[in-house]
């Protein structure tokens, strides 16, 4: 339960940053916090009490005493993809800064009409 609360708070805090912060880098930070929160949520949904990791390294381990491996497999790739997208976002931020000499989205008015 504690894990759920932690994950949901991370998601909400990240979303708050995305919705209200004016600094582009802060928005990307917020996105990466949301990312972490979602990952934690996934893994904690897959957890089973008193179970082991889903690796048959010893003959004594049995399948019904293991946590759900599917969320783990999903989160594993999600983290790597998250890094890649963050990198792309930061590249865009650098480019925008280059062009406008500011990170404040209120001053970057190219999308506005």
């Amino acid at each position: 339960m504690l894990y759920y609360i932690g994950a949901i708070s991370l998601i909400l805090i990240g979303m708050y940053a995305v919705l209200t912060k004016k600094n582009l880098l802060k928005i990307v930070v917020g996105l990466s916090i949301v990312d972490s929160g979602v990952n934690l949520l996934f893994i904690s949904v897959g957890y089973v009490k008193d179970a082991t990791a889903p690796i048959f390294s010893m003959p004594s381990l049995t399948a019904d005493k293991m946590v759900d491996p599917v969320p783990q497999a999903l989160v594993l790739t999600a983290i790597v993809i998250g890094l890649a997208t963050t990198a792309v976002a930061l590249g865009l931020v650098i480019r925008l800064y280059d062009h406008h000499k500011t990170l404040n989205i209120n001053k970057i008015r190219q999308l506005k009409w």
């Binding site: 995305v18 919705l19 928005i27 989205i105 008015r109 999308l111 506005k112 009409w113």
Partner: protein, 617 residues
Amino acid sequence: MISVPVILSVMFLGGVLAWLANRFVPKGASWTAAIIAAFAGYLVFALPSCGGEYTLALGSITLVWKSTNYSALFAMLVAVLGFLGILYSMDFMAGKKNLGYYYMNFLFALGAMLGIVYSQDLVSLFFFWEVMTWSSFMLVIYSGEEKSHKAGIKYFAYSAIGAYLILSAIVILYAQSNSFLLSENVKMFSGMSLGTQIMVISFLALGFGVKSAMMPLHVWAPEAYKESPSGFTAVFSGALSKMGIFGLGLVVFKFAANTEFFVYVRETLAWLGGLTAMLATFYAVIQSDAKKLLAYSSIGQLGYIIVGLALGTPLGIMAALFLTIMHGAFKAMLFMSAGAVYMRTGTTSLDDVSGLITKMPLTFLTALFGIISVAGIPPLGGFISKWMLYQALLETNHYFLIIVIFIASTAAFLYLYRFIFSLFLGQREKEFEHVKEVPWSMLVPMMLLTLFVLVAGVFPGLVLDPIGKAMGYLGNFKASWEPQVVFSAWGEKINMQVIAGTIGTIFILGALFIGFKNRKATRVVSTKDIHTAGEIPTENENLTYAVNFNQPFERAIAPILKWSVDKLFNLLGENLESTFEYLRYVYTGNGQTYAMYVILMVVILILFSGSIFGIHL
């Protein structure tokens, strides 16, 4: 063994071939296209009128192509007009740019039309419908001028709306019957709920109505007809718009006939058709451009066809289908002669061109036969269809509709006479002294069609034979005829040969009499040779008699013209635009606001669904 896919692949591969030929051989495209069209036309006629079935299973979708008696009728129309249109284009389009593009799209359009009539399942019907729209759109914008782009966009917008309506109807049908096959759906249709039936029929009727230029949806037609190259306009008006009639025939007699509200469907369509015929004729009268005039005339004639179909009696359907074939022929003739005038004089404006009769006698003859046929004067083909239409209306006691149709066909004389008078009769301006007759490849299609109209008028049985079979497909309609005889509603026989002989004799005698009587009275002078009160007209003043030809009539129908459908759509468009002008403020250009909208949407979903992930809150 000829089957439908062979014909279709000949057309579509031929289109690509024509495009390729244009890259390597000058003039290659036109010859290739003509040969392909001739070959495909041969295949269409060689295909047994009921057979050539081919089934293709694509996963859960089964595509069935088959020739039925009904589709054979339309396929022949398409094949003949398509071939003649391409033949006509060979010299008409000579020296123009992008000929490969022109012929490719021409053949694609023909192939798609054949695909439509041969498809027995809704998926391929819709697919070919879209291909047809696309390729004809490409030809409307062929000239590349801004006007043609505007016309093309209008055409495309209306066609797209129609196509989406058809698509929705198909999806609704599939959801109910779990099959795309036409026969399956027809079988299950009467078992569907009333709402479904109404929805499907109105969607399909509107969708097909757009293509057949039914009245509130005809707005695209005049400009699209005017802007497309004349060789294609003949096919566009003659065959392509008949695809809408083809679809309406299916809707009325395959789907609506099984429902309880069949009579309302028929009445609505009949009135729409009647209004279309009348109003389009009025609009045609006030046009000052030959092709636009013909376009409105075409809309009006399609209105007659819709009336005939909607009456639902054997005679009405026969009249409609006969007029479908005849209209294909004579409207192609008229568009071709207008195109011929355009080729030699560079304009289709009725105010500028005049007195071409001695310069282009054969074109004049075509146009003359064309208008006689449109006006429904015996002995040509147009007469028989009108004759049958009036009888069908009388049979079913649509007296008020008769008045509407009668007004329409009377007014039709006004614009038809204006068409032939402005272009061919009257005084000739100096600039048209050097006009020559068009080359043979353009005359041959016109002459062939003229001959066909004449023969069909005298021997209607030749055309009525396939029509009778087609009616057998639509329902168990039995109609009787003999090769030269048409029966009236009261059992009288009208022998067309006698009529033809009589009229022909009167015509020749009259011509001789007038020629003999006026042999000295006529003196050919230029338009500027007039006596005015001291004022001498300048060179560029247009004194042709054809200017404001129908002004009195225009004044008479002015109240009707005040509210044109075009204006109505424009008003709607403007209002929508100003509404969206306000809605635009939603897009602030701030990414965070958009993110906020997303969250807002989630919140709304949560609040209104009351549950999330299946857990009730």
